[in-house]
């Protein structure tokens, strides 16, 4: 064995080299495939570049941004998106948490029932959008048949302007309520049984236990679930694209849908990059909120 001095030197080096070898590639890939494209689109957002026309690219400064910012139609689409997020995530929270409370106590077949209920969120939004369009069909749709059983007459879910957005939100609720249910159930099951036994011994009523023990202990996870949902719902594109394509008219046009139309129908690449960056800033704000909350939940 060579003299131990150099041997020690080699050892500490190798640990540094191991770390570099293991972490380096991932960081490189993420930079190449994420940071670089974003940087590239930032540049494009200051030009009048259009991926279809071959005319010369020229810098237009913040023209794109000002055009986007004071375009009233876009603010309407932001409003539609906000409305969609509030309705969808709100319903998901209420339904999800109540199902979690329902399924807290284990019963025979509990495993099967909970897993079956979690399938919707695992499906591809395209597939869900497709078969819900079929189910929500005005005349031969299953949904109208079922509400008919309760005496409510047929509803044209996706074509009636004042409920189209609600219908899409309903599908989002169908798909993502299981997510909120799963997270709140994890929170409920994490509460040690001995706390409820202690509360029983202390002669606490059911409502007192719920208000003083269950709710405070499960709330961090509930907030986390809602944050995850808000970010996802804000980015919603697939369902809208499949079910209504933003129609009727532009009633259900969310911001992602309008960005898609701007970039891939009208091919105004520069402008769409500018709008993309505005959306990106909002998402980063929301993600920071989520990341800070993840730190709190972890501790």
């Amino acid at each position: 064995m060579d003299d131990s001095k150099s041997f020690a030197y080699r050892k500490s080096l190798s640990e540094y080299r191991i770390k570099l070898f293991l972490i380096g590639p991932t960081i490189l890939v993420l930079i190449l495939m994420n940071v670089f494209p974003l940087f590239w689109s930032l540049i494009l957002s200051f030009t009048n570049y259009s991926s279809m026309m071959t005319k010369k690219i020229s810098l237009v400064g913040v023209a794109n941004y000002s055009k986007v910012l004071n375009n009233p139609v876009l603010w309407k689409y932001f409003q539609t998106t906000a409305w969609f997020v509030i309705v969808a995530v709100g319903l998901e929270f209420l339904l999800g948490f109540s199902f979690a409370l329902l399924l807290k106590e284990k019963f025979k077949g509990w495993g099967l029932v909970t897993t079956l209920m979690l399938i919707p969120m695992m499906l591809s939004p395209v597939v869900v959008g497709l078969f819900w369009t079929f189910i929500m069909d005005a005349n031969f749709g299953l949904l109208n048949y079922i509400i008919g059983l309760f005496g409510i007459n047929k509803v044209s879910w996706l074509t009636n302007p004042n409920i189209a957005l609600f219908s899409v939100a309903l599908v989002d609720v169908w798909m993502w309520t299981p997510f909120v249910m799963l997270i709140s159930m994890t929170g409920l099951l994490a509460i040690p049984q001995s706390l409820y036994e202690a509360a029983d011994i202390d002669m606490a009523s059911w409502w007192f236990k719920f208000r003083k023990v269950t709710l405070p202990l499960v709330s961090p996870l509930l907030v986390l679930a809602v944050l995850f949902r808000v970010i996802d719902a804000f980015k919603m594109f697939d369902l809208i694209f499949i079910m209504t394509g933003g129609g009727p008219g532009d009633i259900t046009e969310t911001i992602s849908m309008s960005l898609y139309r701007l970039a891939f129908n009208k091919f105004k690449t520069g402008e769409s990059c500018a709008l993309a960056y505005i959306i990106l800033i909002m998402i980063i704000a929301l993600s920071n909120l989520l990341i800070r909350w993840i730190n709190r939940a972890k501790s």
């Binding site: 202690a198 509360a199 029983d200 011994i201 202390d202 002669m203 606490a204 009523s205 007192f208 003083k212």
Partner: protein, 361 residues
């Protein structure tokens, strides 16, 4: 009239019989310790008395009133959990005031009762802390405070000291004992640690395999164990056991492959219609002395400072533990002398202690 009466209590989980037809009656103000190895049914019994577990059969009475199927929240019984079960999101003050708030007492009355419990336990500086900021000793005191503040009819404690380290456990034992002397509350305390049982109990209930082996005072359980299980479970190191076979000739008994000895004290055994017995003798009543009856070889010595504990191998592979207060150390071949007055004799087949009046005359 007893404070707590357990009448023919039976509990099974599927075919596993956890508690088999036990009877217990506990007087007002008594400190009763239910002692036994893990899995002997002691905690299940305690949880049934508290109402956290429903018995399969049998009844439980508190102050004469039947409470067997009454929900835990209607029994006015306090329960200190092994894991303390403190509410993690509440401060110490809120934890202790929780039971009083649950009964919707007035705010000033809650504050007054909580504060005098807090002073009694000396945990004023902890009031605004959360459980995870407390040491295990403090957590244990807060759990106690939450139980005391309600002034319940009975205190139930499920191995509350097992989470603490050795030194703290010793202090808390003395603290709990002092507490009991002061508030004189009927307490049922469950533990697997025989030192805790011996040092704290007025009465010890030894349980094993779901059955009560013996009920008695610490001295009774230590000096006159009902059977071999109790004799071995109490005392550290446990009692030494030596199988004896009566040779039929006056008081001559055989032990090991072919060693024999006799002693007048053994004469009463000869009158029993059995030939095989087991001699039980505590390590502190076996002396190394030249006039010893039995010989053996010392295989290890454990110096404890104020005494030495020897492991002595007798012929036939039987190992005796011997405690010796003298400072000088022995080794190699020695002779062992038994303090016959302190010996116990068990029958070989049912391992029960032979009670004979003139034996300890």
């Amino acid at each position: 009239m007893e404070k707590v009466k357990v009448d023919n209590l039976y509990k099974s989980f599927g075919e596993v019989e956890a508690v088999k037809h036990i009877n217990l009656s506990i007087e007002e103000g008594q400190f009763v310790v239910i002692l036994g190895p893990s899995g002997c049914g002691k905690t299940t019994t305690l949880r049934m008395i508290a109402g956290l577990e429903q018995p399969t059969a049998g009844d439980i009475f508190v102050e004469g009133k039947k409470v067997t199927h009454l929900h835990a929240s209607k029994r006015d019984i306090a329960f200190v959990f092994q894991s303390f079960a403190l509410y993690p999101h509440m401060t110490v003050y809120q934890n202790i005031s929780f039971p009083l708030e649950a009964q919707r007492l007035s705010r000033p009355e809650i504050k007054e009762r909580v504060m005098n419990v807090v002073e009694f336990l000396g945990i004023e500086p902890l009031l605004s802390l959360k459980p995870k900021q407390l040491s295990s000793g403090d957590m244990q005191k807060v759990a106690l405070g939450r139980a005391m503040v309600r002034r319940p009819k009975v205190f139930l404690m499920d191995e509350p000291l097992s989470g603490l380290d050795a030194k703290l456990r010793e202090e808390m034992r003395a603290e709990l004992k002092r507490l009991h002397i002061e508030i004189n509350a009927t307490t049922i305390y469950v533990t697997h640690d025989q030192i805790e049982a011996m040092s704290m109990a007025d009465t010890i209930v030894v349980m094993n395999d779901g059955v009560i082996q013996q009920i008695g005072s610490p001295q009774q359980v230590y000096m006159e164990p009902e059977n071999i299980f109790v004799a071995n479970f109490i005392g550290s190191p446990g009692m030494n056991f030596l199988p004896l076979v009566y040779t039929g000739k006056n008081t001559l008994f055989r032990y090991g492959p072919d060693q024999e000895f006799s002693h007048p004290q053994l004469s009463f055994l000869t009158q029993i219609d059995q030939k095989e017995f087991i001699l039980g003798i505590r390590p502190e009543y076996v002396q190394i002395s030249p006039s010893g009856l039995m010989n053996g070889e010392i295989i290890s010595v454990e110096p404890l400072g104020y005494k030495n504990v020897y492991a002595v191998e007798l012929p036939g592979g039987i190992r005796f533990m011997v405690e010796d207060m003298r400072t000088e150390k022995y080794s190699g071949q020695v002779k062992l002398q038994i303090n016959w007055k302190k010996a116990c004799f068990f029958t070989k087949n049912d391992e029960l202690r032979i009670k004979w009046s003139q034996k300890n005359g």
